[in-house]
Symmetry: C2
Subunit: 125 residues, 2 copies
């Protein structure tokens, strides 16, 4: 297994998910060793949720899983880049294709992303 | 100024730099509030170096600065995405266009990135 430096940040390293086809950056989440190994084994993105303090199999609730097509490691071996196929077309729990759907413009944030689904319908909350 | 949640991760949030033209993910670094505000003010990427424990004006040594063309914030307001023009063509201190120049292939890492410069020549070390 590849030597990722999980210790540098207290067991968690950032993992970027990028759309394999369009190059759009979809989201950033965190992985511990277990999440990383499961991601490699299953070719589905598995993160570690800091808020829930447990493994987070992306799409476990919404069905919008990420099929992992390639995995890259940065020069310091402390950041992971996944190229993924985003099932359902939206990575963000707010229903946007990308979590980075807001652009900083002066002192304001402008929504520039494309909304794919209504989160109320998907999460039934 | 936009309310980024710098407190969540002890004052630092991850910042992804993406090539504005090609969409290639170039690197991930960290920003504190001061680095973020300088980046917005100057439109040049300024990070916070965890190893040197000080502001890191990207390219201050190599000349390979990053001209910031757009700034995005994720849904949780705890990750920043920069679209940049990478001067010198290489973001990585090892001379590759992207810091993610190695791909995980089974139990091995394969160099898949393009080397743009020889770090020995640029950093004179």
């Amino acid at each position: 297994m590849i030597a990722i430096d999980f210790d540098k940040s207290g067991g968690l390293v950032p993992a970027i998910a990028q759309d394999a086809d369009t190059g759009e950056v979809l989201m950033l989440a965190w992985m511990n060793r277990e999440a990383y190994e499961e991601t490699l084994r299953t070719s589905r993105a598995c993160y570690f949720s800091r808020s829930r303090n447990r493994l987070w199999r992306k799409g476990e609730e919404s069905g919008n899983v990420q099929e992992v097509q390639a995995v890259y490691i940065d020069c310091d071996a402390d950041t992971i880049l996944l190229k993924v196929r985003q099932i359902g077309g939206a990575a963000c729990h707010e229903g946007y294709r990308s979590c980075f759907f807001r652009q900083v413009q002066g002192d304001a944030l402008q929504v520039v992303g494309e909304r794919v689904f209504d989160p109320k319908q998907v999460y039934k909350k």
